[in-house]
């Protein structure tokens, strides 16, 4: 990227694209329009959709809105301002009158008639020659003039620009930020937000009198589209701005948004899109999202890349302390982290999980002798509390904020001059986005310090730093649209104007994630929405959507529409339980005496986490160590524990596994012993020892070590494919080892390795030819073994539950009338069992399998790994544990997984209680 030169933009270009008012405004702030801001203006004038790739702090948001502000200022090039609006009629109502503040617009009191004529001053800049063909001109539309009536509510020519943000808080912040230039330039523009929090009265008004710019979320867009008046509301729309597109497209929300876009392209073919994104691996692919995909072909929006950000300065903390073998807390480095916070103005300390954030925050406070203002920010905290932290940060009142990915996105708060990333970076793009948070000056380098929490993480940090130096991105490829999201969309469409299957199928395929959707899948989804899609046709009379004589689908009754409204969206929250602080109950876990109800609400916690606890366990929450007392309905009662350390240290390694790209680089680093010299001595020595005692795996090789230890026999392999894929591998391997009579007892998976232990002497079995490693790691484990495991996998059941909710099979929110029935709800696990047995190819099971490929089970990655290592398995039979195996073995007992075999666990638990009773 070239360095930004503010003066590289020649004045005539700026003058061509920006009126005097805008140029003056930039000047008044001491700014010049940036190259990419002007580039987007030029794209807008050419009627092109564009994807802006820019680092944080590059004025991305302003760039995205500038074309809209210019067009709405009434000072736009005349050519952009013609032709009557389609869907006429409505302008007759839009009697607009206004005063103009600075003489650029029509005179005060001008009345706009149904057919607005261009009444803007002629544009004085140079005419661009690559102007639209006649056809484009015909398609082009004009906004009626936009006139301000001052502060009061103005009637306008309808909605001009829709802005979509992944966070509703962001929409609100952007609106606030946008008000500034609009007010300072005195632009006659009405800006409003619409989120789940917007009062009904304002929502209704927004439908009738839409603002010029509406800032909203993908879910709200879906809701707006699922109404009869969507064509009215959107017919005037010219532009849609998609913020943080790189983040949106990686989830099902992106799928939902893409379907909404497809709908908009049908309603309003003239709209153009602007995508705003951090740097991604494949910009052309991401740019496909912004334009209709023409039947099976490939179309992309133009890509504009902002140059100029100084490359970040990233270093690894060269700790004076001993580097831990395992764990994720980085406690050894905390005094050094504290020093860094002290030496900088505002530091963001990123960690990977909520519980890490909790613990770190607590530890920092314990050593906070200087009374530095350090705050905590993560997704499970109360919204009001998070908001308070964000405001304090914006006001420059905080010296440090310990946060999770909850601060990955969002507007820039305050002058962050240092980012500390604790633990594994996981991916280079993710890390670069975090580092971009230290961007108080765009043209100054962001500074970041990586703090590895264990030796493997040192390797990961080292390759991440190299990757950043090369600006190497590892964002995932564009998703294939999920079928459960499509089901939700189909129901939404039926809530609006009735649709024909053929037409909707063609429309859906204009969206990039669904471009390759098979007609049979689409038909199955429609069938599912209508009657459940079951092989038995017994539900025809219960249909939720029905076809009329012309074949158009519409909702069968208003209740279906109501239920759709309540359940729109693709974010299936983990079932959360409210955590309340009560006084400890002395009777111990055995007592049933009612514990004091009520208690101060500390926040919310995932049900799955609590399910892993036993009454009496301690964990960190809300910045303190608490003791788990009881679970009553959706309330978790905890008491203050006086323990310094929590018994349950952390759970899981965070949501995101190590990226395939960084994993590959780590394997390359291991394979290149000369490169080890650049690593800290402790790590260098560790690897050298491994080389001497066992072997360091080559890039494409899978090293498998077997050794005895403490009466058990261990098998450990190093695929470097992330915890999720390893966990699935562990489940499948133990099944196979059981069949081979190797009598496995358990396994533990981390980001880098998988260790299985058991009774059988694996080294001996391999020597005797009774256990063939090539067969053990053969990709055919993804056949029958996987099938058998999926039948009982808790992770698969969770995946299925999400699909059942998103697809609308079951509701998560109820109408008042239904609420009383909540107690007669059913478990999706039971539905999964029954459906799997009786209709294994049902569309919801297909959707769940699609998710399993990349989600919690990471099957695709496991499959890729198995084919990579085929014929490249190296076995080392050792006398004792190898240096490389130590970190994984240390995690046994802390994070081990015991499979899904419930009988054995129940038997063990029962026996334990018996033993307890006998002593």
């Amino acid at each position: 990227m070239s360095t930004l030169d503010l003066f590289s933009v020649t004045p005539p270009e700026a003058a061509d694209l920006l009126s005097r008012r805008f140029r003056d405004w930039f000047a008044s702030r001491g700014w010049s329009p940036r190259e990419h801001q002007l580039a987007l203006l030029a794209k807008a004038r050419e009627q092109r959709s564009a994807l802006l790739i820019a680092p944080t702090g590059a004025g991305k948001t302003l760039a995205g809105f500038l074309p809209t502000l210019v067009e709405l200022s009434g000072e736009q090039d005349r050519k952009d301002s013609h032709l009557p609006l389609k869907g006429g009629g409505r302008h007759a109502r839009g009697r607009v009158s206004a005063t103009e503040r600075d003489g650029w617009g029509p005179a005060a009191g001008t009345e706009q008639a149904a057919d607005p004529r261009p009444n803007f001053p002629p544009f004085r800049g140079k005419e661009s020659d690559d102007r639209a063909s006649g056809e484009e001109m015909a398609a082009e539309k004009v906004r009626p003039s936009l006139i301000s009536t001052g502060r009061s509510v103005r009637r306008t020519g309808g909605l001009h620009t829709l802005y979509i943000s992944p966070l509703k808080a962001l929409a609100v912040d952007i609106a606030r930020n946008l008000e500034t230039p609009v007010a300072e330039m005195g632009l006659p523009i009405r800006i409003e937000t619409r989120t789940g929090d917007t009062p009904v009265s304002r929502r209704q008004r927004q439908r009738r009198y839409p603002p010029d710019i509406l800032l909203t979320t993908p879910e709200q867009l879906a809701l707006l589209l699922a109404s009869d008046d969507a064509p009215y509301l959107f017919s005037s729309l010219k532009r849609i701005v998609l913020d943080e597109l790189h983040a949106l497209v990686t989830s099902k929300r992106g799928d939902l948004l893409s379907l909404g876009l497809a709908r908009l392209w049908t309603i309003t073919p003239q709209i153009r899109a602007i995508g705003l994104s951090a740097t991604v691996a494949e910009p052309e692919q991401l740019a496909r999202f912004l334009v209709p995909q023409p039947g099976g072909e490939f179309a992309s929006a133009d890509v504009v890349t902002a140059g100029g950000a100084a490359p970040p300065v990233v270093e690894m903390l060269d700790t004076r302390e001993r580097l831990p073998w395992s764990g994720h807390s980085a406690r050894h480095a905390l005094p050094e982290v504290y020093e860094l916070i002290k030496r900088n103005k505002t530091t963001l300390v990123f960690v990977n999980t909520r519980s890490q954030a909790e613990m770190l925050f607590q530890d920092l406070w314990r050593m906070n002798d200087d009374g530095l203002a350090i705050a905590l920010h993560h997704g499970s905290l109360d919204v009001a509390q998070r908001r308070k932290v964000e405001d304090a940060m914006a006001a420059g009142k905080l010296r440090g904020v310990v946060c999770t990915s909850s601060l990955d996105l969002g507007v820039d708060w305050g002058d962050v001059d240092l980012v500390i990333n604790i633990g594994a970076p996981k991916g280079s793009s993710r890390l670069m986005q975090r580092i971009g948070r230290a961007n108080h000056r765009f043209d100054e380098a962001s500074r970041a310090v990586l703090v590895p929490a264990n030796r493997f993480e040192v390797l990961e940090c080292a390759v991440a730093i190299d990757a950043i130096a090369e600006n190497a991105q590892d964002t995932p490829p564009l998703r294939t649209g999920a079928l459960d999201v499509l089901a939700q969309h189909v129901l939404g469409c039926a809530c609006g104007k009735p649709f024909l299957s053929d037409e909707l199928y063609d429309e859906v395929r204009t969206s990039a994630p669904y471009a390759a959707l098979a007609r049979s899948d689409f038909d199955d989804v429609v069938d599912f929405v209508a009657t459940g899609g079951y092989a038995l046709k017994t539900y025809e009379r219960f249909a939720r959507i029905k076809q009329d004589k012309q074949g158009r689908w519409r909702v069968a009754n208003p209740k279906v529409r109501q239920s759709y409204r309540l359940n729109v969206g693709t974010i299936v929250e983990e079932t959360m339980l409210k955590v309340r602080l009560v006084r400890s109950r002395a009777g111990g876990s055995g007592s049933t005496g009612a514990i004091a109800r009520g208690g101060r609400m500390l926040g919310e916690i995932e049900e799955v986490f609590i399910e892993g606890l036993v009454v009496g366990d301690t964990f960190v929450f809300g910045g303190e160590v608490v003791r788990y007392e009881a679970l009553v309905e959706d309330q978790v009662y905890v008491s203050r524990a006086n323990d310094k350390d929590a018994k349950v240290p952390s759970y899981m390694g965070g949501k995101f596994p190590l990226s395939t790209y960084l994993a590959e680089r780590v394997r390359k680093l291991l394979d290149n012993s000369r490169a080890w010299n650049a690593l800290p001595d402790q790590v260098h020595d560790w690897l050298s020892l491994q080389k001497k005692y066992s072997r360091v795996p080559a890039v494409r090789e899978l090293l498998v070590e077997t050794f005895p230890r403490g009466g058990s026999h261990y098998l450990i392999c190093y695929p470097f494919e992330g915890r999720l894929a390893h966990q699935t591998l562990g489940m499948l391997l133990t099944r196979r080892l059981e069949r081979a009579r190797a009598r496995p007892l358990g396994f533990v998976a981390n980001e880098y390795a998988l260790a299985v232990w058991g009774v059988g002497d694996l080294s001996f079995m391999i020597r005797q030819g009774r256990l063939d490693l090539n067969a053990l790691f053969d990709a055919d484990m993804l056949g029958d073994d996987l099938e058998a495991w999926l039948a009982e996998s808790a992770l698969m059941k969770r995946t299925f539950r999400n699909c059942a909710i998103i697809s609308g099979l079951i509701a998560r929110r109820f109408t008042d009338e239904e609420k009383s029935r909540r107690q007669v709800l059913f478990s999706t696990d039971l539905i999964y069992d029954v459906l799997r047995k009786h209709q294994a190819d049902h569309v919801l099971l297909r959707a769940a399998r699609g998710d399993a490929a990349t989600g919690l089970l990471d099957l695709r990655r496991l499959g890729d790994m198995l084919s990579r290592v085929k014929g490249r398995i190296t076995h080392k039979s050792l006398d004792h544990v190898s240096p490389l195996a130590v970190p994984a073995l240390l995690e046994i007992g802390r994070e081990s997984v015991y499979g899904e075999a419930s009988d054995e666990l129940l038997a063990e638990a029962a026996e334990e209680l018996v033993r307890e009773a006998m002593t």
Binding site: Y534, Y539, R743
Partner: protein, 236 residues
């Protein structure tokens, strides 16, 4: 994947767990049924047949396979014990008109199960008025020897009831496991729900305290191949 896993895999025979009520020992089948060997009497509770279509009628299109799933489980447990008599302990049908929605195939399957044995439908709150054409006899409660079979538990001694759908969450290492269970204290028992779509109520709920008085009763938790006993106070 524990040592226990291998033990249970090597022996196909299921271990027999007994639930005792008023000195009568019942075999607790891990399907959720009770079998009284001397009487050759099999008891199942809360089949909730046609729960799927009941929800479907209200717009929640659950898979319509629950009846066939429940009946095939019932067929399996009947084949295991070959009872002379079967008691369905109430809420056999999910709603008042559920029996009308039975498919012909399910109706035939049910008739096949009823052949060569006596069959008693105890009415429950979901199915208070069962028709007579279902085969078997309909009753509100049945007493055999010292045991009274009724749908809703009253807490009386010698009572076997259903209605509450007991389930228990058991802490194990690694994670906790939640399963359906029998609840009993030797004097009375509450049976788990047998239906494919029936969820459960935690045995720590106050409803159980009302029946058993103290949390000293036992949760006989249904495993895949056997039943495991826990003191209810240790479950949650």
């Amino acid at each position: 994947m524990t040592a226990g896993a291998l033990a249970s895999e090597t022996s196909d025979e299921m271990r027999v767990t007994k639930v005792t009520v008023a000195d009568v020992g019942f075999v607790a089948d891990c399907s959720g049924a009770l079998f009284w060997e001397e009487q050759r009497l099999l008891v199942v509770s809360d089949l909730h047949l046609e729960k799927g279509s009941s929800f479907a009628a209200r717009g929640v299109l659950l898979p319509p396979y629950d009846t066939v799933a429940t009946l095939s489980r019932l067929a399996a447990v009947i084949a295991r014990h070959d009872p002379r008599q079967v008691i369905a302990l109430g809420d056999s049908f999910h709603d008042r008109t559920a029996h009308e929605r039975l498919s012909d195939a399910d109706r035939e399957a049910l008739a096949a199960l009823q052949a060569r044995r006596s069959w008693i439908w105890i009415s429950g709150n979901h199915d208070p008025a069962l028709p007579s054409d279902l085969g078997g006899v309909v009753a509100t409660e049945v007493a055999i020897g010292p045991i009274a079979f009724r749908h809703e538990p009253t807490g009386a001694s010698g009572e076997i009831a259903g209605h509450l759908h007991p389930k228990a969450r058991v802490p194990t290492r690694g994670r906790s496991i939640e399963r359906r269970c029998f609840a009993s204290d030797g004097e009375r028992a509450v049976m788990p729900a047998f239906g494919a779509y029936t969820g459960g109520l935690s045995i720590r709920d106050a409803a159980f305290a009302r029946i058993f008085g103290s949390p000293g009763f036992t949760a006989h938790v249904l495993g895949d191949n056997r039943v495991h006993a826990f003191v209810a106070s240790r479950c949650y």
